[in-house]
Amino acid sequence: MSTTEMTRSDLAAITLEEASAFIWHEAELLDRQDYKAWLPLFTPDGLYVIPIEREAEDRAGELNIAYDDAEMRAMRVKRLKSGFSISSAPSARTVRTTSRFVLEEAPDGGVLVRCAQMLVEYKFERTRVIGADVTYHLVRTGEGLRMARKEILLLNSDDPLWGIGYLF
């Protein structure tokens, strides 16, 4: 692929079909806990954020459930797959579906995709359901779509949760 073509493909608008295929692929990786394949789906300066506060102001200036840059994500994956974390060896099993996609152009390139996620987890004969509003900032790169940011606002983010040994 020539540089000129690269640039053209960088600028091409991301379609709903592409975005939903990416998001479903990511969801399947997470349910399978193939976290090593998940890590490269972020841009190098991408952020993985699970907020507490309902109203977004400045997530970096608030306490979050997770506020991970690339280094924290890599350490988190290492921890979850190490076999030494009792909450993730094994973690709850999960099945998630993602839908209700709404696309808009992101001000600084790429698209913002707002969607609904329903996740069911199961461990110790206990089934729990967690809903979430998920916002992806997707950008096109030479390797395909990548997440510049994934923010998961859990339905009960500001109320008591429980020990969670997997990734949203």
Partner: protein, 425 residues
Amino acid sequence: MDMPTDMPRAHEDYASLVQDDRVHTSLYKDPAIFDEEMERIFKNTWVWVAHASEVPGKNTFKKSFVGKQPVIVTRDKEEKIHVLLNRCRHRAATVCEKKAGKTSVFVCPYHGWSYNLDGKLRSVPHASVYGEGFDKDEFPLVSLRTEQYNGMIFATFRDDIEPLEDFLGSAKKWIDLFMKQGAGYPVKTLGEHQFRFPGNWKIQLENTTDAYHFPIVHKTFLDSLDAETGNVFDVLGRGGWVEDLGHGHSVMVMMPELVDLEENLEAPIPERFADLAEELRGEGYSDHEVRRIVRAVGGGGFNLNLFPNVACSMAFFRVLRPVSVDETEIRHIAIGMDGGPEAGNRMRMRLHEHFQGPMGFGSPDDAEGWERVQRGSAAGDDLWILVNRGQAPIIGHAAGDHVTDVSAETGMRAAYQEWKRMMSA
């Protein structure tokens, strides 16, 4: 035939369930014991409800609990703190369902009775139907006795127990040391993680004074640290200790060099704080201020366990709330500098997120361990929980002749002796 569990036990029965070196498994799983604990402990002592910064000015409030009873902590227009039962005096509806905020009045949503932040009943719609004998002064929101020490607000149902400062006793010194994390600024809360686990509240109470589990349960947290920081977190190997402070309180010192954050300011700044130090210097803080702030941001080196429901735990407040005999809610409240550099507070929040909360590198493994205790206690009705580790004081320790090894279960024994005293009083 089994004894019905709702049969009241004799006081001496409770005493027999706690021995000097062990406690009976029924303390984790008998619903009748749990109900008695709510009466005899949580309605008879000082219970932590809030930090002063959570009601930051006139006409502010936050919801909390004393045992199982929902309360509202308020700061009224004269800046006086109150702890009020969250229950309308008319037909019991809660008058507040917002977590925290600012208001000058609580209006019951059911029939419109309204209350001032000091609890006074302000007005009653269509009051004339009650007749002339109706006196609003008879129906304020029930107000609990409330006192505070160094920003820690406690409430009690009892008007006749000792003042808060006497209850805290020798724990006060440790609260003062803990608050040095403000680096000279007032300490303020920066948000909180909340989670529940299916297990008894005393399992969590024990954990705050349990260094023994740290290298095992938190191996993956330790593996995520750089070598220098990992060395600081070698909690069993730094000459720490545990000390019974009376009234069920205890302190577990894991990092003796981080007891007093205003000492050793000349020590080299650890590598992981180098960027923060640089940023602070760039903002014009003096070298002394930079060192003081950086050291405070790193957090304290001890857990102060206050019976029955709060701990000043290294760098945050750890609050427990008993929900039922086998359900407990935990809050990990982050703290920082009120008016201090934002960069410092941001770093404290990132450090807090690293270990604490539902998806931290530490808390989920703690919660799993506690749940495993509750699940295991279903086996062996006649067995006991051992808290016999490290009973002999360390000879010649700099902290005194009475202190025990950092991994000793001294803090648990202290809490259970207080439990025994209150449950058999």
